[in-house]
Symmetry: C2
Subunit: 598 residues, 2 copies
């Protein structure tokens, strides 16, 4: 196993040079105090947490897993101590509301931190991420009383949060949930039902666990419009909000045995008349939950990308050091018994595919995070509304495309190590297993693609896409003047044309046949993802080329980025044509089969 | 976990209708007794073994894994009993030489049987497959004395074989091995060294284990030309070839912890002056080993494909039964709370992608197996030579392309189950882990692609490809007359044109720059794989359409095949264009980076 190295150079370059975070943060009152120095200091501290605190317990955590005995869940050795250090550093409240003890940091800063934590130890990171998601939901929708009761302790990390949505028979279709909430005289509710796949549902890291639970009142409307959201602590609270010493009827029934993220407790949770309080309005539970979803879904792309980067580091080091065979053009290290496998074009193809996807995925995640920040902090309503539209369009792509590519890149990294990649020792097989879940949870990637194609594109008649294309146009106009950019910009113009064409086609076709949306959705998500990676590489080049021409900066890093971009254009971008053909193919061949013909 | 169902209908259809095995077997003296009735009987018995004997211990075997205590390896519970049944049925000698107790069955018959065994329980199947590979090598290269000593017991399955190639520092580059063989006065050798990643290197299924070991004599030439092959039993033999009661200095140092195939013991093997005998000529070990490789590599594609089919069965059943949401075109089961997820175009896309790849992969494996049989059994020298050429070209594709697609299809099947696919219960996550190894072992897929592009294509100046293209031309000429085929045949003509073009280009370019071979190899392997899947679907259609038009046969099966083929042409075939672009891109962007720029 090789140690995780936080990619601070890449992150800082994206932050300061590509996205010019300092200027944007300075322009918004809510982020005015987030100076470049503060950004650097926080990123560096986060890198230490990733490298020194949680990476060392990643492999052992996988091997040991979580245990559940009589409802008591034990996390792997070292997790409790690491978590205590983590919250002592104030990380749990990084992006929290300042009024309740959070630090109010923007998502653009927390995104690469999440990438590092996930890359170093996804199982550990999940306890933190779920808590952040839960606090965000409370922050947006709970009453002042509830916020005061829960947020300060959750921002401290003394309590962690969960999201209790799925039931055994209701995953994608939450309208079917059966968990009941019965109103009580004191204004609270009694919650009864069973939830499955609850990340961090039960564990031994904190003195309390705060569940956000979707449930239905006995007389609620059928389907999704009858779902309400409740906050339900594991341990009961007294009137001051301190632990009452009473258990609240929340029990862990089992911990799932699963492919990966074994150090993360994925629980079956039984609520047995547990006391809870309504969050937001009655029957608005689903939409309240979705506020948080844009943040959580972005995190899932970051998870895979972080793990892919961890695998890249291991694979690149292996390729430099593994001595095997000779270069096709003659010995490169004639004094040795063989050359390092990095001399082989096909090994380079694999490494470059990883590097090109990982860097673009990181940039896309940060770009989406930036839009979340503008949407939240910008003083100008127009800017906020534009950012809202970009968020709506970008998030399903950042979730699905980044997690798909992230998983594939973990697989590619494993391949570079050959048999050594298949055994546990080097850690890259664990990355494959841990990354796989990001394509599934928080809405499986097929659902993301449907959301993008149906709700965000067809229903909006392409308006959100038009906003994004205008942003690209603005970038292209500005980048024309950057020396050397003219050779690269046509790639994006070409992609824009493709996506415009298929968008129009799907919108037209779906008028007559709603199945055309789902028939096109996955390839469409991939085409937009590819287009966005293209956009990101161009934005990176527009920041790199002037520095390279001026001879400033870390030359191998900069020239490596240019060459990786050129690889991306030559080798990965051509896939767009196949995706267009797939979209054009339409619904017919999909819907032709009867159930028995499968 | 759903039970494995052997795909007998598909296999029988390919065997009798598509490849017309009865005619081919009847035309070759060595296979004349392999009648359609015998084929059916054997396939049906094999299906029972897969379904009833080894599938039930697949998941438990994964959970328990193999244990190694003080060099003693224990297989998972039930493996010993199942193995005893398996060999009692005579399966170990199915393809073995009749003169030494084998049954002399052709590979075209054993291939789909291997697919079934791998699909039902890959860990278990590996004990059998390794034995078959070892017997094949002995059969081809060992002296009569050695064959008499080892083959009968290995065909009985009382002893199993292994292939000991890899050392910690020498995997792809076997020229670097350090295991030594010292000649003894009695004509035997003393073998000393350590081998890693030895499948079935030690276990508790048999009374002896026969290792085929690559080693070098003290005065051997450097590199691959100094490698010799030895047969080394775990337990010593007396002059009659019976167990002498003496241990032979072969020890298992450890069992690897790995991603999957956990019921298969992957061993570190220490040879400590173990007695062995030379197989074949001195210093011809590597080429002797390669005889067997064409058979083994075909098996690896079958492994992934079998597991993918197992996942397909589970995913298709899940999609039919899982009630969630509504069809985009309105409720399909309005009486129920929701529709089965099979109504969704994107779920169908996933299932059809699986079905299209699995069926074509099965057909390609059988087509390659048929060439192996013709090469071995055909009375006509020309036919044998043509088959040899096809084998050389097809095997790296059947290994790499089938195992890549097989793995991807396991991942796709897992995706259809959502969160239920990530937990162990349903078994599809195990299929992903078990299938992953097939892309790595027996020569990683990148090595297969290099073999195809370099040795088999550039070095042969495209001559092997020309043989394959001629076979396709012959098929097209014959299929013109089949009612309804004319609409499909242009797909293959188009693919042929693509592959002709890029083949010429790579051969030309590689004259000036040997790196062009490795730069093109992977995409070239994928393009040829796609072309062959296309060819296979057309061959299937040419058998299906007449039956469908005549109204004979199992209609949903036949019409399902036609619709799956149409999906393949519309949705999967367009990828070829992207692969051509990738090949055309050449070596430049790959080789531009210095080691530090990665």
């Amino acid at each position: 196993m090789t140690a995780y190295n936080a990619p601070l150079g890449d992150i800082q370059f994206l932050m300061s040079e590509v996205f010019q975070a300092d200027k944007i943060f300075a322009s918004m009152p809510g982020t005015a105090e987030v100076t470049p120095d503060l950004i650097s200091a926080i990123l560096e501290e986060a890198a230490k947490i990733a490298e020194n605190l949680i990476s060392p317990i990643n492999q052992s955590g996988d091997q040991e897993g979580c245990k559940c005995v009589d409802g008591v869940v034990t996390t792997p050795e070292g997790f409790r101590e690491a978590y205590a250090h983590y919250i002592a550093g104030g990380w749990a409240g990084l992006t929290g509301e300042i009024d309740f003890g959070g630090q109010g940091m923007p998502k653009l800063l927390s995104s690469p931190i999440e990438e590092m934590f996930f890359g170093a130890n996804s199982s550990f990171a999940l306890y933190a991420i779920l808590n952040t998601g839960a606090t965000l939901t409370l922050s947006e929708h709970a009453s002042e009383v509830l916020k005061q009761r829960f947020l300060p302790k959750m921002y401290e990390g003394r309590w962690t949060g969960t999201m209790c949505l799925t039931e055994a028979h209701a995953g994608t279709d939450l309208g079917m949930i059966r968990t009941k909430a019965v109103p009580q005289a004191d204004g609270s509710y009694r919650i009864t039902g069973t939830k499955i796949f609850i990340t961090a549902g039960e564990h031994d890291l904190t003195e309390n666990i705060i569940h956000l639970v979707l449930a239905k009142l006995p007389d609620a409307p059928a389907g999704p419009k009858g779902i309400s959201l409740f906050v339900v602590p594991k341990n009961g609270l007294d009137n001051e909000g301190s632990l009452s010493g009473q258990h609240n009827g929340v029990f862990c029934g089992a911990v799932e045995h699963k492919m990966g993220i074994k150090g993360s407790a994925t629980c079956v949770m039984n609520f047995d008349g547990a006391q809870g309080w309504l969050v937001g309005e009655l029957n608005h539970g689903l939409s309240n939950m979705f506020t948080m979803m844009n943040y959580e879904r972005l995190s899932m792309g970051l998870q895979s990308n972080g793990l892919a980067d961890s695998s890249y580091q291991t694979a690149a080091a292996y390729a430099r050091e593994r001595i095997q065979g000779r270069s096709p053009t003659g010995p490169q290290q004639p004094e040795g018994e063989a050359d390092p496998i990095l001399v082989h074009p096909d090994v380079r193809r694999m490494l470059l595919t990883m590097r090109a996807n990982i860097m673009a995925g990181r940039a896309l995640s940060m770009y989406a995070a930036l839009q979340l920040d503008i949407s939240r902090f910008h003083p100008d309503l127009d800017q906020r509304q534009k950012a809202d539209k970009l968020v709506a369009l970008l998030i399903p792509v950042a979730k699905a495309y980044c997690s798909d590519r992230g998983f594939e890149m973990c697989v590619t990294g494993q391949q570079i190590l050959g048999g050594h990649g298949y055994v546990a020792e080097w850690g890259v097989e664990q990355n494959v297993r841990d990354a796989r879940i990001a394509q599934i949870y928080e809405g499986a990637n097929g659902i993301q693609a449907l959301d993008l194609m149906g709700r965000k594109t067809v229903r909006e008649n392409g308006e959100l896409l038009a906003v994004l294309l205008t942003e690209m146009d603005k970038f292209i106009a500005g980048a024309q003047d950057v020396l050397g950019m003219d050779q690269y910009l046509p790639h994006l113009l070409n992609n824009q044309q493709m996506i415009r064409g298929v968008t129009r086609r799907v919108i037209d076709r779906s008028r007559d046949n709603p199945d055309e949306i789902g028939a096109a959705s996955y390839a469409y998500m991939e085409l937009l993802g590819l287009t966005l990676y293209n956009f990101m590489w161009l934005r990176i080049l527009a920041a790199v080329l002037p520095k390279l021409h001026a001879g400033t900066g870390d030359t191998p890093h900069l020239s490596g980025l240019v060459k990786t971009a050129e690889f991306f254009f030559a080798r990965l971008l051509p896939k767009g044509q196949a995706l267009v053909a797939e979209i054009e193919a339409g619904a017919e061949t999909l819907m032709a089969l009867s159930a028995e013909e499968f």
